[in-house]
Point group: C2
């Protein structure tokens, strides 16, 4: 396996990564052939196999890099947070915008949805830990199972992010979607839709 600190190696791998993302967006990961990816990357087919065992390995590499970078960006935002700031949320959306194509591939569930599952699980885990820490520190008494709250909150974020990244006409500015999402999550759907709190029947 070629060494990473060689210019040719760096060029080749990054070209392959880019080609994979581009082609996945255009025709779907499952429909791609290795020779197609190599050709798009302007690299011999034999070279592909010098760097990656197969198509899946290349995809895994792309995803791993993405998740690692996301984690790096997210960590400081979560750290210096006491309450419900929208900062980790904004960081996620910003990171997605900076790597839009790659995110679209992952969020579409390309590559058997394994990457998407990874992303969701990682975020859910981290979110749950944050919730538990916050509850502990502030002596709160949760009314619901925090695992459900965490999963739901991550689900909201990912769903809206997925939709937002695909919107082509008149996209909502980042701060705006993130703000809406944060408010919705904090105050709930009744508040968001403008239901009069006094008159509405509470449940069932």
């Amino acid at each position: 396996m070629p060494q990473v600190d060689d210019r040719r190696t760096r060029r080749t791998r990054s070209a392959l990564r880019r080609a994979l993302v581009e082609l996945s967006l255009e025709r779907g990961y499952a429909n791609l052939r290795v020779d197609e990816i190599s050709e798009r990357a302007d690299v011999g087919r034999a070279t592909f196999y010098a760097h990656f065992r197969d198509k899946q390995a290349l995809y895994d590499d792309v995803v791993a890099a993405l998740l690692a970078e996301l984690k790096e960006r997210l960590t400081p935002e979560v750290r210096e947070t006491g309450g419900f700031t929208g900062r980790p949320l904004v960081a996620l959306f910003q990171h997605a915008l900076d790597n839009r194509d790659a995110y679209r591939v992952v969020l579409r569930g390309d590559g058997d949805g394994r990457a998407l599952t990874r992303l969701r699980d990682d975020l859910s885990e981290a979110t749950l830990r944050t919730f538990e820490r916050r509850v502990e520190e502030q002596g709160l008494e949760p009314r619901l199972d925090l695992r459900v709250v965490a999963r739901a909150w991550v689900g909201e974020q990912v769903a809206v992010l997925t939709w937002w990244l695909e919107e082509e006409a008149a996209p909502i500015p980042l701060e705006e979607v993130a703000g809406m999402l944060a408010d919705l999550s904090r105050f709930g759907r009744m508040w968001a839709t403008g239901v009069d709190p006094t008159g509405a029947s509470s449940s069932e």
Copy 2:
């Protein structure tokens, strides 16, 4: 193409559908070979091709059936609903429980996540229409873009459902998760985590 009203045809197709779901759960859709599926279904490989063009066609068939049945179950629940009843939510969870394996395959994003995207998009569309109808009828003034609210709400449901179906140890009863999810969505995360509404800083 064989006629559907023949007993042999019905048996063969349903065996193939079942085999696909089983094997997808065990080894992942992408890793399956056609001869494997036929063998599990106890059907000749040639017979497979008499009924489905390829593996993808079989998968599409399974998903289409699932979505059609879901729609059938959901429609009456949505119809006779005025406010925020949790009834469509419960119906979704019930349907998922009744077809647990198939749902797990779809929700894991097997088959390039296309089925999952379909499910999410269909639900989001329907939800958005319901929200708009409700706003119209009750003369509400939404504080947020309803597209975002709809996507987020569906995202919550799907994320929690995905997690819930995979939980093996001490699963939460259906009514309970559904209830939590409905309450969380209605009243928001601050309420759910027990934050004192008076003392908390509202935003940012």
